[in-house]
């Protein structure tokens, strides 16, 4: 049940326990217990909403920053990653294989804020060798969802 449950709520975390239980063919209590367990084990880490901020009046700028660092003895990349992810404006931090080490997503109000973050906060951390900043111009698809897609049923309305 675990994987099927996760795959349903990954797409719709607002679904009620009752409905979830029906879809899985389980009792509500079983499903509720399983969700509690998944939360406890930090397999479920949060319930977020996918928002297309571009359609709102709020100004946001998002940047992807490639970061090259010198890993530290005994701690590898974890320590420096932590230094970076503790900033609330940092939305995600990934350790990456290939030409650089960390990929940082940063969300700010203006371009200037991003520039300030990179030059005053990020670059000045010790063990950071270099950064490369890419601004996001348009989001087409996020979290597996195509943002502008209109769900339209193009089937004939009644077929045998």
């Amino acid at each position: 049940m675990r994987e099927e449950l996760l795959s349903i709520i990954e797409k719709n975390s607002r679904i009620g326990i009752n409905e979830l239980a029906t879809m899985l063919g389980k009792e509500e209590i079983e499903v509720a217990n399983e969700i509690a367990k998944l939360e406890e084990e930090r397999i479920i880490c949060g319930y977020h909403t996918l928002i297309d901020w571009e359609k709102t009046s709020i100004e946001k700028v998002t940047a992807l920053i490639e970061v090259r660092v010198t890993p530290q003895r005994g701690q590898g990349f974890d320590k420096i990653a932590q230094r970076i992810y503790n900033y609330p404006e940092v939305k995600s931090v990934y350790l990456i294989s290939g030409g650089f080490d960390l990929l940082v997503t940063l969300e700010e109000k203006t371009l200037k804020d991003i520039a300030a973050f990179v030059s005053y906060k990020l670059s000045t951390l010790e063990s950071i060798l270099s950064t490369g900043t890419h601004f996001i111009l348009k989001k087409y698809k996020d979290h597996g969802t195509i943002l502008d897609k209109q769900d339209e049923d193009s089937r004939e309305v009644v077929t045998p």
């Binding site: 879809m23 089937r155 309305v157 045998p160």
Partner: protein
């Protein structure tokens, strides 16, 4: 002017669904649960393979029986799913949907007056195709109390010395019924005993829930007397690609290939390339879709229970077939009223044979969100009907 129309064709009734269709199309904000095809788009990697085939200029005819690599993939798919071996060279024919296979299969088998046993409710094309091929249709009315399975007794009662073919439409559209191995073994025994041929339409074979599909051809002694029909429409959400296939004894495939060659030439080339990709790398997609259908199926069954609407639990296809006899209306009256009053379209059971009277086919090839709204409307509707009935007493 003379009447230029064929008498035979004029005898055939147009599909009962048509009339209904015209009302639904006119009606805005109606929710249709009347669709007999998946709501998923064809998985992207399959569509891309089609695009790639276009780019490479694969725009010519293929051999009559279909691309060799496709026939090989079909053969290996049936081997791994049903453990039946068909020779891709002369026991498999790629057709324009399962529908073409039904048509030319019957034409290859029947002589005038041969009796064809058709269990109903079932898909709308068996009876007309058989009729056009000269067959005499013998209908078996399947019963809800048997979960709409074909029972040995029903089969035996229908057999005469003119019986030539049994059409076996499982997993079933519109009832969602399936036949399990022990059910099929009993049928097979009679079939072999009475020396009858079987046309097994297994187009919904990938869509069974909690129980795996079994083909009658996998039962000992049946492969040589079965034409197995399947296709890509339901499993891979490829209805518009028009691609199916038939597997069977070489002698029959050979005759079918003649009709196919003269009437059709070959199945669409682009679709055939896409289908190779579907069979090679489409298992995950099928599993994902099956899981999703199963969730909706459970949802509907539960909602019917809550409404007190009688419905046996179907284990196949993507239909449920609730019984509406308590309301004292014909299926068509019920469906029309439901559409006009609550704007929910479902197909009257009678579209699939007289034995569908008193039932409704509800398709769950729709998102849970849509089904939820539709079920609320249906519940409203039957609550109203029950209240009216009480008042009348």
């Amino acid at each position: 002017m003379r009447n230029f129309l064929s008498d035979k064709i004029q005898e055939i009734k147009p599909s009962g669904i048509r009339k209904f269709f015209d009302i639904v199309v006119e009606m805005k904000d109606a929710i249709s649960l009347g669709v007999g095809e998946p709501d998923f788009d064809t998985p992207w990697h399959i569509r891309e393979e089609g695009i790639y085939a276009f780019e490479k200029g694969k725009t010519f005819y293929t051999s009559n029986s279909g691309l060799k690599p496709l026939r090989e993939e079909i053969s290996s798919y049936i081997k791994r799913s049903q453990n039946i071996e068909y020779n891709p060279n002369d026991e498999i024919l790629v057709t324009v949907g399962g529908s073409e296979a039904i048509d030319i299969g019957l034409r290859a088998i029947l002589n005038d007056g041969d009796e064809v046993i058709i269990p109903q409710p079932s898909y709308v094309s068996y009876a007309p195709c058989s009729y056009l091929a000269g067959g005499k249709n013998v209908i078996i009315d399947l019963k809800e109390e048997n979960h709409f399975k074909l029972t040995p007794q029903e089969l035996e009662n229908a057999i005469t010395d003119k019986t030539k073919v049994l059409i076996l439409p499982f997993p079933n559209n519109p009832t969602g019924a399936i036949m399990e191995r022990e059910d099929l073994e009993k049928i097979a025994k009679i079939i072999i005993d009475k020396d009858i041929f079987v046309m097994s339409d297994e187009i919904y074979s990938e869509l069974t829930y909690d129980k795996k599909h079994v083909s009658i051809a996998s039962i000992e002694g049946m492969k040589e007397r079965t034409l197995l029909i399947n296709g890509f429409s339901k499993a891979y959400a490829m209805t518009g690609w028009r691609l199916g296939y038939a597997c069977g004894p070489n002698e029959i495939i050979k005759q079918m290939t003649k009709i196919h060659q003269y009437a059709i030439m070959c199945a669409p080339t682009i679709s055939q390339y896409a289908a190779v990709e579907a069979l090679r790398h489409g298992d995950d997609d099928v599993n994902m879709m099956r899981q999703s259908y199963n969730q909706r199926r459970r949802f509907l069954i539960k909602r019917f229970k809550e409404m007190g609407l009688e419905c046996f639990e179907p284990y196949g296809a993507f239909y449920v077939f609730p019984c509406i006899k308590e309301f004292g209306m014909t299926s068509e009256e019920f469906a029309t009223k439901l559409l006009l009053e609550e704007k929910v379209a479902a197909v009257p059971g009678t579209a699939f044979g007289d034995s569908g009277e008193g039932y409704l086919r509800i398709s769950y090839a729709y998102s849970i969100e849509k089904l939820k709204i539709a079920m609320e409307r249906l519940e409203n509707f039957i609550t109203k009907l029950r209240a009216e009935k009480r008042k009348a007493f």
